[in-house]
Symmetry: C2
Subunit: 326 residues, 2 copies
């Protein structure tokens, strides 16, 4: 096995976020499921945007957010994902490269526009996401360069990639290429409803291909169709080498074989929870690929999540290296 | 004189801001003048964007920011300004309308793109602005509908409109139409360097057409080419009915005839000073057109400025009515 020249290669949807504040009645009137992620088409996106309040645009995408945070922590990071050759695509490409992430995927020419996620932030800081996948639906196996995969210690995949049909093949291909090269595969379950839409595929992928799993409580319970967290933890322990389970203000639990580590959340003034899980995974993977302990990886995750939820938007605004004391 | 159906009609450059953090060495290496606004062309904008860190996009423009804040305070507000028929133009139009502002100006078809301002925020929260005017340079007299002007209690103009050449005629035409309809004209000096570029025109416009003047210390000193603030205050007192002079953490001074009101700043954690003056003017004009006292108008200004500098970006994030206790 050759020396890795990247610590983390993220593969995910390349999305620009449009964040706006909205109260609970706005969500209720439109049947939007608070705290979740819904897929919408171009027409729905236009109608919702028209009804929304003033917005702030910021590059997003779950794994792309993680990549930006991990690069800020000093990890060597790459990202594969599909934008269009348009204004928002330029914004996405600028932002991820400016964060220090290697981003080789060619933009889509003359098709759907760059994906956007209309994010409604509630007064209690919860976010409700409405994603128009746009150009992301064309991301496929051809966009996964096995040479890029083979040079990263860990590839990191988002469960959201199960939604665009072509990306599912890319997902499997990337995992096979990583394992063939002796590398590790990390997966985020992304969203409880996304797990519900693709449960059988997720169950198989977790068992067969996942070395490091990220999930929050709702996602883990959805995966195993149980309401018993302890039972779900017992099951995930037998299926993956490492599972990092996030529990909002209760912190996180890391299970690895017989070992269990409880990690406290870092207290902060919560402004917007968008990107909390992404930032946790970034901190965890940056520490883990640096060779730090699982408990320390959990601490880095908590520190990163606290930074991202303390302001509007999913990308970090502070000096992340200084925050983790690295 | 008919009853006004708008409280404030703003006329200004229609700009989308791209905010990014940058340290002093980044500014120094590029000869950027910290705290100021520089005009850049399309090529310079591309080069600077490439060198900048990850950005956050948010609708901007000095008077447009004021309009959004004033509408949030319950004032009836309109805005005239030129965007292009492109993605950023759509963002600008969405955001100002979603803020509750009437925005009738037709977008430019097939010319320059929507204006953008690349804003570098320093670790000490100061902002350095680099503006590519794009479609704004085509805003002219034809875009100033006298009927819109005549229906507003106050029209509010930004000094920055002296930069795009066609806008200067629009500026004069709007003031004449307002006074012909018995309305008031408010002006922001915008920027000390902008005042320096167009000093003679500013001096004449302040004397001949301005009822309410907004300026910070540096702008006022530049207008009268003096280093003596007291002397500048004495002069402005003779030239305009009301001058609201902002002094950062020292608060503001309002002079009106023989009267002088000192207004304290509202203490806050300063994150980004972008839009502080715009928000102050919004608070002041919203209170003034509501018939409140000058001292109370100053207090509204201070409250609004404090909200806007407490977070990244120039548009408000809080419930402004609640903040002023209105």
């Amino acid at each position: 096995m050759t020396q890795a020249t990247l610590d983390i290669l993220g593969i995910g949807n390349a999305i620009v976020d449009v964040l706006s504040r909205a109260d609970d009645s706005f969500l209720a009137e439109r049947g939007l499921n608070k705290g979740g992620m819904a897929l919408i088409d171009a027409e729905q996106a236009e109608a919702l945007y028209k009804a929304m309040g003033p917005g702030v645009e910021s590059s997003g995408g779950s794994v792309a957010n993680s990549c930006a945070v991990a690069a800020g922590l000093g990890a060597r990071v790459g990202f594969l994902g599909k934008v269009a050759n348009d204004g928002l695509g330029e914004v996405f490409g600028h932002d991820i490269r400016a964060a220090g992430v290697h981003f080789p995927t060619a933009p889509l020419l003359g098709g759907a526009p760059t994906a956007r996620c209309l994010i409604l932030v509630s007064p209690d800081a919860q976010r409700t996401m409405n994603t128009f996948l746009g150009a992301c639906v064309t991301f496929g196996e051809d966009d996964v360069d096995p040479a890029e995969v083979a040079r990263a210690q860990v590839i990191y995949l988002e469960g959201y990639l199960y939604d665009p049909p072509a990306a599912q093949a890319a997902f499997r291909a990337a995992a096979s290429a990583a394992h063939a090269a002796g590398r590790k595969v990390a997966l985020s379950l992304s969203d409880a409803f996304c797990v519900g839409r693709h449960r059988a595929a997720f169950r198989a992928f977790v068992r067969e291909e996942t070395d490091i799993l990220f999930a929050n409580e709702a996602e883990l319970l959805s995966l195993y169709e149980t309401e018993d967290f302890a039972a779900a933890v017992a099951q995930v322990r037998t299926e993956v080498a490492i599972a990092a389970l996030t529990r909002s203000e209760k912190g996180s639990m890391i299970v690895a074989g017989d070992a269990t580590y409880e990690v406290a959340a870092v207290p902060t003034q919560v402004v917007d929870t968008t990107g909390a899980g992404d930032a946790y995974a970034a901190g965890f993977l940056a520490a883990h690929t640096k060779g730090l302990s699982l408990a320390e990886a959990g601490r880095w995750g908590s520190v990163c999540a606290a930074e991202v939820i303390s302001h509007f938007g999913a990308r970090p605004q502070a000096d992340m290296k200084a925050l983790v004391g690295g």
